[in-house]
Amino acid sequence: MLRGKQSWWFEKRPVIIGEATVVGPDEGEGPLAADFDLVHPELDMQQKSWEKAERLLLEQASEFAIQNARIERDQLQFYIGGDLMNQIISNSFAARSLGIPYLGVFGACSTSMESLALAALLVNSGAGSHVLAGTCSHNCTAEKQFRYPTEYGSQKPPTAQYTVTGAGAAIVADRGEGAVVECATIGKIVDLGIKDPFNMGAAMAPAAVDTIQAHFNDTGRSPRDYDLIVTGDLAGVGHPIAEKLLLQNGVPMNDTVFNDCGLMVYDVEKQKVQAGGSGCGCSAVVTYGHLLKRIKKSELNRILVVATGALLSPLSFQQGESIPCIAHAVAIARKG
């Protein structure tokens, strides 16, 4: 199962038998709108607080994933998830409604692939036959916790990113129809001293580079083995940096299509999202909503999703600390 230094190879080929995504209004106006299971027209989703709205997104995504997988809820043995809120409350409260044995994880915006990798690991090791992985973020809860009140008039620099309002959930099983989780590479913390919380793309780019290279070193694969490699939320500033660094290090990224979920989820030119999307929901809704559909339609054979996370807290950056970053990569392929 362990391959190389930091990668897991899933010999039993766990399958994503069902997945679902629920998003907010801005994502519903983006280019991937048709791929989401549900688009909420309002940011508050008729809830009394932003936090409740974020929780609702995840609960709905989990419910839809169970429906899409055509299984009963009590067939699920474990739920693995995390989010950006302090003490990952969105997931804990959603897990309360789900009533499934729960493992909470935190990897900031890399949580989507962290939870998927762990779910695949559980299934591959025989620790479970049906494991749910999920994550969510909400633009307003993230603004409130990490930046300023949502209605506060502050001018954001062009390097800032726009937190995706959305949740994605996927059910990994030992058998069934769907895309296969082939392998995963767990990243290590990379921190090159960027301190600006309004430039998280640049902070996270080296972590993505480190994990992508480790993935190729460990698995013996190269970029041409993938039809698409996507980073989680490096967006307009971080993504070109990652590409430049990879090319500099001799990784032939030109052999594949290299994109970023933060650039795909919005129309960056038309929507006012500064450098692009970010947040736990960003890579989750793009992967589970858009990319898995393209795999099902045979438009893609094999992809590598490298979810990136900036592991800062409002406290740490106010105390002048730099931003520790991480990236986790999961390879997903068409069954066959």
Partner: protein, 163 residues
Amino acid sequence: MATKRKRGHNYKKMSMSPKEYQSFAKTMEPPRSIFANCIKAFVFGGAICVVGQAISELYVHLMGMTQEAASNPTVATLILISVILTSLGVYDKIAQWAGAGSAVPVTGFANSMCSAALEHRSEGLVLGVGGNMFKLAGSVIVYGTVAAFFVGIAHLILGTGGQ
């Protein structure tokens, strides 16, 4: 279970030092249009002042107030307008365009308090609204008072204070 096979490639690690990376990353940032932002701030901040002047004139000419007496209700009216725009979710969108133009005038101060009060309403009236209302405005008050204190001392020493 572990397989430690020697494989095809061994990509080298990042060779940049944190300092080198930070200056490289700086070159990849989109330019911030400081000049355009200054013009926008000037135009919008100026426009708020023009509106304020117009309101003041209304109080003087329609309600027969003196210029001095009109200043307090003028500020209150601007605050009211700002709070309404904040509550309607418009002020933050204006601010993305106007920058300092909407932050510096009294309307920006009102926005900082109103937005914090709205945001923390879900945590209750006392600990939520009451405890967080001055989250952003608090530092303006603290440093405004401290600055006024030192200016007052300077006036006292130089003997330039007004009567």
